[in-house]
Symmetry: none
Subunit: 134 residues, 4 copies
């Protein structure tokens, strides 16, 4: 299986940071590999401190379940099929901003997590990161 | 950036404790600096033991997100945009009693967290603490 | 059993801080009650950040074993009777700077921990704190 | 106090990674800010997975005590004045590879931690990182 390289991880972070700067927001950006271990991280100047952990948890969540973090939201909401799941794995994030990174064959080789602005911004920026990985 | 001094931290605690005594309630009061590290703490006699951790977490939450803790409540409630956020950063508090401390320029230099009475009381007392910092 | 009051805890911290200032050193000072729970804490401006946790652990160690922390040193040193003990209780400190606080009858009602200067300074200052409690 | 910027953090990582590549070794490189919070991180391809946490703890240790991590080694060795200190602050690293980053006035504004090769290599590389920050 292709590995997520340090070069790819940095390209993801560069792309997210550049777009965030254009949007006038500050982000924490985390990239994890296929084993859910941190590969690269950057906290932009002025980014919310508490979003650092959120960005890392978003990336981990996206890889742990191989789906965008926002897809877990309805499943863990009251009445959902997986209520309480968010307390497992040292805490999951179930709103937008975490997206799996796939290789050309579609295999998940890692994930990116973005946090620091609105959920919509973070979700958009995670997509920017994923696009930069391919 | 101005630092939150030990003198300020003690003034915050003195103000909260004095008001709590007037109100006839007992509080745990925590002050953290801009790096979210504990700067000063006091547990009034008779204050609920389990509120010690809550007071510290309130202060940390207020600084991690640079907002009053109660502002996180609607965001993390069922249907809110950030459901589950409270499981990040080793646990956040999303009801009242934590308030950022700002310098004259409006920069957050720390936060105060109060816990031990009702949420309304704790919220009021956190505001007393913040006022004493300026 | 007499409880360690908030007033006593503050008197301990005031005494340690005053003496530390005279000595030209900066300290983290922690006071725990008989249950090993934090009662009061102050980090002097400029005190080493990593000593915050050390001060709290010194106070906890002194109360957990009802002895000065330095008394545990020989017991946990290679060849000592209690090698490895220092990894229990979430980490003990076995050098000087933690001292039990006793009531008039000699019962341990809490402890003070001081960290931030040399071990000799910290040990002296913990003694200053204990003296202020009586 | 000047802040450690994202630009500086990336320059530190770039310098360490470039030198590590020249030396033919693979490193985990972590940069923390003055509050001991992760500012930037990169794991080079092939770097030992278990060294990730070591790199972060080296950076944290260097900032928590404002000294090179190897300076803590003799102090925490058997017979040293601070035996057991390494169990505080969620675990310290007391061998080389962590170095404080100072501003022009000498104030510590963060730290770099490098792990993945020999201690000598890691120590050299941490120095390379610190030099790149000035």
């Amino acid at each position: 299986m292709p590995e997520l390289t340090a070069g790819t991880a940095r390209a993801v972070i560069d792309a997210v940071v550049a777009r965030a700067a254009e949007m006038g927001v500050t982000s924490n950006v985390a990239v994890v590999d296929s084993g859910c271990h941190l590969k690269a991280f950057l906290r932009m100047d002025g980014a919310i401190l508490g979003s650092m952990d959120v960005a890392i948890k978003k990336a981990r969540t996206a890889r742990l379940f191989d789906m965008n973090t926002e897809e877990l939201g309805p499943l863990t909401a009251p009445g959902g099929a997986l209520v309480g799941l968010e307390t497992t794995n040292d805490g999951l994030v179930t709103f937008g901003g975490g997206t799996p990174i796939r290789d050309a064959a579609g295999t998940v080789i890692g994930a990116v997590g973005v946090s620091g602005s609105s959920v919509d911004d973070d979700t958009l920026l995670a997509g920017v990161g994923t696009a930069a990985a391919s």
